[in-house]
C-alpha cells in the first residue's frame, strides 16, 4: 500500500489541479475563463494552482492581446504530460490492488 501511495504525485493532490491538468491533456491550449467555468472555482484559487503547476514546469503560460484585452492561455509541457500519466497509472494501480 505504502509504495503505491508514494508513486502518487503530491503536485496533483487537489481537485482543481487534477481538473486543470485533465483539461490541458486533451486540449492544445485552454484559456483562463474556460478553466474557471469548467472547474467552478474563483479566480484567485485557480491562479494559485496554476502558478504552482507552472513552477513545477508542468504547464506553460502564454499571454496575448486580442484587441485591447489580454488573453492568457495555458498548455501542458511534455514533462507535465508524463508526470500526469504516471499519476493516473498510479491511481489505477491503487484501485486495482
Amino acid at each position: 500500500m505504502k509504495e503505491f501511495i508514494s508513486q502518487l504525485n503530491k503536485a496533483f493532490e487537489s481537485r482543481i489541479r487534477l481538473g486543470i491538468m485533465s483539461m490541458l491533456m486533451v486540449n492544445d491550449t485552454v484559456d483562463f475563463l474556460t478553466l474557471k467555468e469548467m472547474l467552478n472555482a474563483s479566480d484567485g484559487n485557480i491562479a494559485s494552482h496554476i502558478s504552482a503547476l507552472e513552477k513545477a514546469e508542468y504547464l506553460t503560460v502564454e499571454k496575448r492581446f486580442i484587441g485591447r484585452k489580454t488573453n492568457t492561455s495555458y498548455s501542458i509541457t511534455p514533462y507535465g504530460r508524463r508526470a500526469f500519466n504516471e499519476h493516473l497509472a498510479a491511481l489505477e494501480k491503487l484501485l486495482k490492488r
Binding site: 481538473g19 485533465s22 469548467m38 491511481l91
Partner: protein, 213 residues
C-alpha cells in the same frame, strides 16, 4: 476504504472533465426527434405537391402552361425545403440549449465551434454539389447525395460530440448509396433517412443519456 473511494472519484472526475472539455455533449436526443418529425411533415407536403402536379398533367398541355406549372412546383418544393431546414435548426438549438442549461454547461464553447466547423465542411460541399446536380438536371440524384453528404458530415463531427452520431452517419451513407440505385424513390429514402432515422436515433439517445439524469 474511504481513501480508495476518493481515488475512484478522482479518476471519474478526470475522465468527465476530459470528455466535457473536448466534446459537445449537450446535444439533445429530443432535437433529433423534432428534426425527424419536421422532415416527415416536409416530405409529406412535398409528396402531396408532386401528386397534385401529376394530376394536372394532360397529354395536350401547351408548353407555356407546362413551364409555369413546373416553376410553381419547384418554388413550392424549395419553400418546403427551406422551412424544414429552418424549423429543424431552430428545434435543434432549442432542445440543446435546454439540455445545456440543465447540465450547467455553456452552449458556445470551443468544442461547439469545432463541431460546427467539422459538420459544415461536408454539409456545405454537399449543398453546393446538389445545386450543381439540379443545374445539370440530375434531379433524381439529389436526395441520395443529400443523405450521403449528411452522413459524412455526421461522421466528421462525431469526434466533437456524442460518439453515437457516428453510427447514425454510417446508416445515412448506406441509405444514400442504396438510394442511388432506386432513382425515382428519392423522396421515400429522404423521408426515411431524415425522418425515421432521426426519430429512432433521438429516442434512443434520450433514453440512453437524458431520462432520469
Amino acid at each position: 476504504m474511504s481513501q480508495e473511494k476518493d481515488y475512484l472519484q478522482d479518476l471519474t472526475e478526470i475522465r468527465s472533465i476530459m470528455e466535457k472539455s473536448t466534446r459537445f455533449i449537450s446535444l439533445s436526443g429530443l432535437s433529433g426527434v423534432f428534426a425527424g418529425i419536421v422532415a416527415l411533415a416536409g416530405a409529406g407536403m412535398a409528396h402531396l405537391s408532386i401528386r397534385d402536379f401529376k394530376s394536372l398533367l394532360t397529354p395536350d398541355l401547351a408548353d407555356e402552361v407546362w413551364n409555369s406549372m413546373i416553376v410553381r412546383l419547384e418554388v413550392r418544393l424549395l419553400l418546403i425545403a427551406v422551412s424544414v431546414l429552418l424549423l429543424a435548426l431552430f428545434g435543434g438549438y432549442y432542445f440543446t440549449a435546454r439540455k445545456a442549461k440543465r447540465l450547467e454547461q455553456h452552449v458556445w464553447t470551443k468544442s461547439t465551434r469545432h463541431l460546427l466547423i467539422n459538420l459544415s465542411i461536408p454539409l456545405i460541399s454537399g449543398g453546393l454539389f446538389c445545386f450543381s446536380m439540379y443545374y445539370h438536371g440530375l434531379i433524381g440524384m439529389i436526395a441520395p447525395a443529400m443523405l450521403i453528404f449528411y452522413g459524412l458530415a455526421l461522421i466528421n463531427g462525431s469526434k466533437y460530440t456524442l460518439n453515437d452520431t457516428r453510427y447514425l452517419g454510417v446508416l445515412e451513407i448506406a441509405l444514400g448509396l442504396t438510394a442511388t440505385f432506386f432513382v425515382g424513390y428519392g423522396l421515400w429514402f429522404w423521408a426515411f433517412g431524415f425522418g425515421i432515422l432521426h426519430i429512432v436515433y433521438g429516442i434512443s439517445m434520450y433514453y440512453k443519456y437524458e431520462r432520469n439524469k
